[in-house]
Assembly symmetry: C2
């Protein structure tokens, strides 16, 4: 898996550079956004858009959204090189959401360096993040693969569907975070994951299906593969946060007991609140409510999660979503080697050494 | 003008309510965003999206973007009632940008009440603002007027063009604001206005043209009418800020010397910096640079703008853009009464008693 990501990353970055060059000039602006009515300031646009976005991209990221899209296109029997620019769409969207989410979550660090709003100011960061929501959508109109108008329209509609649901998911998550008294059911938590994280995965999959002219049934199945895998990864993330706290490992790059400090409604928390005795549930809830937590409180909360077998419950749930993702994948007629690679992605749901 | 706005406002608000009801329920979410994969939390989505957006809408706003769109549709000979939902697109987009811009500009007050990020928190406000960038675009796919696929595609491409340029304009404005040493030419200032403010106006006009199947030439002319009028209004805004400071009137609702305190690069400032003697230019620049200004400094800066006739220069420039807007309008075959109303909008560029 690591090999294919390493192989494709520079190719993907080259394609992103065509969409958003590191050095912005008049010619790029005119070609990409049309002639100015008066006169562009390329310097300002470089500093306000290109510099922060490339700073973020150069900090890392595996570009797996673009690569999975390309593997799917290849697996469907088309030439991925023909559709490189399209595969950048979810990658740029994803990096846009990172910038905006970091402002919304008041994150301080991103990929080992100051979050973009700390580095460039909130105004520049937010506008750059939002610009990255629209820049990649221009690819559809630019139409580098010379698609017919029905395919272009299908692509716009798919993107509007998924980008709307992304904001529903984020809205649910933020509201729960701000209103800790709000009760969250497991199905609502899963919906939040399906919307917030799953929709970007769905874009990856549906783009490949639309570009290669698959039937609506196949587009649905491959979207479900991506959605269920995204949910599995989200639950896996939450488990890793707790496990790294238990093991005292800092490799995962977050603060000790990060999610508990944040009062995050993870699947484990939802499960424990419904399974624990009244006293423990009340204790867990009150720890999550507190603006700051001591080390003892964090260990206490984790103890409650363990006493209700909630970590194990979440792990089984993640594995079952990974299994479901593979089931959906099997219904899709893909070239064998690619199908195997795409299935293997789901094996890393909890063990992240991809 | 006031009459037509008053007449249409409740009709427009009714149409916006169909797009984003005040009370969100499962049925709305399913119809508008598709069935849930697991289960939506309508309460969370109401609190995170609908409540803040309706709070803002209920504070005021003339809905002129929707009304101008409807007047244009009527003027082109079509029934505006058939296209009500489409006319809401620029109105919702505009309110989304207000929410996001207020975060970016660190505004405290909006329409006489706390800015939304002060009222609801930055996370809720930003996500609601961003959601309003995508919610109205779903109208195109929903296709309530049963448009053919070519028209739908034209509408998506138009929206992507304009929304991309909006972010270029905002990027230029923010960069200049953060980097006061950056030199700004008049043509660059005008481009910033054309992108940042003009593109929403262009959406209003181009929507009406696309919906009524006008030729590309007419779409271009009517877009130019909207763009030039927007630039004229932006310059007019800047003049009003200075004049209300000179006259000591507070009606305009802003702090004394607001734009000078903010160090804003208005057309007047750009003109004065190039026309004043070296000493005065340096003094003006240093006042704009300072994080805080005394009353004397503000009056001093205004004195420099007056000594170079920059307020008068800007007024002539605004009037000439208003004139240019009317010239473009005359090239468009519109029903006469509507054409007169649409031309009369440009008369209020500096006198805002619409």
């Amino acid at each position: 898996m690591r090999d294919v990501l390493t192989e494709w990353r520079p190719v993907v970055d080259g394609a992103i550079e065509e969409l958003l060059p590191r050095a912005v000039d008049e010619a790029y602006l005119t070609e990409w956004f049309g002639p100015a009515s008066h006169r562009y300031d390329p310097e300002a646009i470089q500093r306000a858009l290109s510099d922060p976005v490339w700073d973020l991209l150069d900090r890392g990221g595996k570009r797996w959204r673009a690569v999975v899209c390309l593997l799917l296109i290849d697996g469907f029997g088309a030439d991925p090189h023909e559709y490189l620019t399209y595969a950048c769409i979810p990658e740029i969207l994803h990096n846009g959401t990172i910038i905006v989410d970091d402002v919304e979550d008041e994150a301080r660090i991103r990929r080992g360096e100051p979050a973009l709003h700390h580095q460039y100011g909130e105004d520049i960061a937010l506008n750059a993040g939002n610009a990255m929501y629209f820049l990649p959508l221009k690819v559809v109109g630019k139409n580098p693969a010379d698609l017919d108008s029905g395919t272009q329209l299908a692509m716009y509609e798919m993107l509007m569907d998924e980008l709307n649901r992304t904001h529903l998911g984020q809205g649910m998550d933020i509201y729960w975070h701000r209103n800790r008294e709000a009760e969250v059911a497991e199905a609502e938590y899963l919906e939040m994951c399906a919307c917030k994280t799953g929709c970007l995965g769905r874009i990856v999959a549906r783009l490949a299906a639309i570009l290669t002219d698959q039937s609506p049934e196949i587009e649905r199945e491959i979207a479900k593969y991506a959605e269920d895998m995204s949910i599995a990864f989200q639950i896996g993330d939450d488990i890793l946060d707790i496990e790294s706290t238990i093991e005292g490992t800092t490799e995962f790059g977050k603060a000790f007991g990060n999610d508990i400090r944040e009062g995050k409604r993870t699947l484990m928390v939802i499960h424990a609140l419904s399974e624990a005795d009244a006293e423990s549930a009340e204790r867990l809830s009150s720890i999550l409510h507190k603006p700051e937590n001591t080390r003892e409180e964090i260990l206490d909360a984790i103890g409650i999660l363990q006493s209700t077998d909630s970590v194990e419950y979440a792990r089984e749930c993640a594995l079952s979503f990974a299994e479901s993702a593979r089931d959906h994948l099997r219904k899709v007629p893909l070239e064998e080697e690619r199908a195997t690679q795409l299935a293997s992605f789901t094996e890393f749901v909890i063990d992240r050494d991809v």
